[in-house]
Amino acid sequence: MVSDSGHLSRFGHQDNRKSPQKNGLTDAGAVGTPPEPRPVAGDPPKLVVRNVSISYGKKMVLRDVSFEVRQNEIFGIIGPSGSGKTSLLRALNRMDFFVPGMSVQGSILFGGREVRMWRNVYALRRKIGVVFPLPVGLPLSVYDNVSLAPRLSGVRDPRRLDEIVERCLQRAALWDEVKDRLNSLGSLLSGGQQQRLTIARALSQEPDLLLLDEFSIAVDPVTTMRIEDVLQGLRQEMSIILVTNLVQQARRLADRTAFFLMGECVEVGDTEAIFSGDVKDPRTRAYVEGRFG
């Protein structure tokens, strides 16, 4: 992981490739200057999802989905609830193991390796950070929430743990609010703080890929904005899959966006193209423009 001190400042290190208004929630429709494509299409992709289908028992909830996530890319996934977005995220870090009846077909390559072939599934999961829709602060101190993953992977030195905790909380834009109460319970922080705590916790795993599942659903607009800024900074170091219920959020953040509908990946394309109406499927335009169903 890149860890130059520049990333410690929470807002100092924003990726400015998108016009500034794209970070706000006021983004009404004006599409800024097209981004210079920093995630290079020629690089080996971080994640390759090929012909993936997912079923629970006999019920297939995701059918033959294929896409790639590039290095340092924010990949948006939009689509109505029930279209299989969360199920797909589960399959990526092999959490399907914990869901009775869930089966995954097809191929998922993470860092060039088939996830099903990783002998150490725990190492795979550490490389993939996950943030849930409802913030889950573990019933441990704020400090332990962030130091747990490093400790489990063998970091013992208290000074090193202090460093990790501070850095991760800084990068999740939470440090200033909790630095005086690192010993209070993470599960009793406010919803918005807990969500940033879960991001800090995910960062403590030093992930290469960060999965966010509708992170803003239980979070106030100000926190949502701060987290969006955080994500802009994080894309310097990792790839991010942003599943979101807010299409405008995908528009603000994602380089490319996929539209899922009832278990089908209707469309994958450059975010700009999808939001400017340059789509292959009319359903995508209908969903993006908010006239659906």
Binding site: M95, A123, F132, P139, L148, A149, L185, T198, A202
Partner: protein, 291 residues
């Protein structure tokens, strides 16, 4: 709120609500009434014999005088050895069933067995204890045989209460840990167990109080009628409060009336002390709310 007058129906609902509430309160009071009556009765009848001497000397004069020390110590031995056996096994089984077992036929058979084991009458456990521990394993009538019998009897309850404590820890915490790359055991050790501990202890303490009062399972397996020595090890027989109470109230002539009440009061005292401890645990648990 103009326009929303309480309707007649509404007022009747409120009346019913009040009535039901009082009715249920009455039932509750009726329920605890006997407990208080018994307690007060025991204190009145048993208090006269209560003394340091009563607690810390042996019975004398054919158990019509003296104290209860060997029985008191014996009960502590029996309960302690029973817990040594049932707590590790019960907690391990509960962790397995709650955290590892998938829902298959084996798990279902085990669950069924636990429920049935909990329903077996204590006298049947006693007979099993005689057959298995006293005779087959050759422990003779001893603390070991009696405690193992008690332990087996309490095992299902330990398992069930532990499992409930574990399952009170929300699933989301486990999933968060697994997503971080924690193994099941790491998750249990760092997140589930610490948060279930008070609940587990509460269950175990309640078990202690129940075990202390059991008579049938120890009667044929290790508790002695009269034995004015303290046990030296787990292969000794011992007196026990519960059996002693049974003996002096039914088997021995000319026991002064206050004596059995005194024994009963000590027994109840132990049980209540244990229960208070578990309530205290629970209160602490509630106050230190974690989510």
């Amino acid at each position: 709120m103009a326009g929303f007058e309480a309707s007649a129906l509404n007022r009747r609902d409120q009346k019913v609500e009040r009535l039901i509430r009082w009715l249920f309160l009455l039932m509750t009071l009726l329920l605890i009434l006997p407990v208080f009556v018994i307690l007060i009765f025991l204190v009145i009848k048993g208090w006269p014999v209560m003394s340091m001497e009563f607690l810390f000397t042996e019975p004398s004069n054919g158990m019509t005088a003296g104290g209860i020390f060997p029985a008191l110590v014996g009960t502590v031995w029996l309960v302690a050895v029973a817990l040594l056996f049932s707590v590790p096994i019960g907690v391990a089984a509960a962790i397995y069933l709650s955290e590892y077992a998938s829902d298959n036929w084996l798990t279902r058979v085990i669950n069924l067995a636990i429920i049935n084991l909990a329903g077996v009458p204590s006298i049947v456990h006693a007979l099993f204890g005689v057959g298995a521990f006293v005779l087959f394993f050759g422990f003779g009538t001893s603390i070991l045989a009696a405690s193992l019998t008690l332990g087996i009897m309490t095992l299902p309850v330990v398992i069930v209460s532990t499992r409930e404590a574990l399952q009170a820890v929300p699933m989301a915490f486990r999933e968060a840990c697994w997503n971080m790359g924690a193994t099941r055991w790491q998750t249990i050790r760092h997140v589930v167990l610490p948060n279930a501990l008070s609940g587990i202890l509460t269950g175990i303490i309640l078990e202690v109080s129940r075990t202390a009062g059991e008579t049938a399972p120890i009667m044929f397996t290790g508790a002695a009628f009269f034995l004015p020595f303290l046990p030296q090890g787990v292969f000794d027989e011992t007196m026990a409060l519960s059996l002693h109470l049974f003996v002096i109230s039914t088997q021995v002539p000319n026991v002064p009336e206050a004596l059995p009440y005194g024994v009963a009061l000590v027994l109840i005292g132990i049980v209540l002390a244990m229960n208070s401890l578990s309530i205290a645990f629970r209160t602490v648990l509630r106050r230190r709310k974690k989510w």
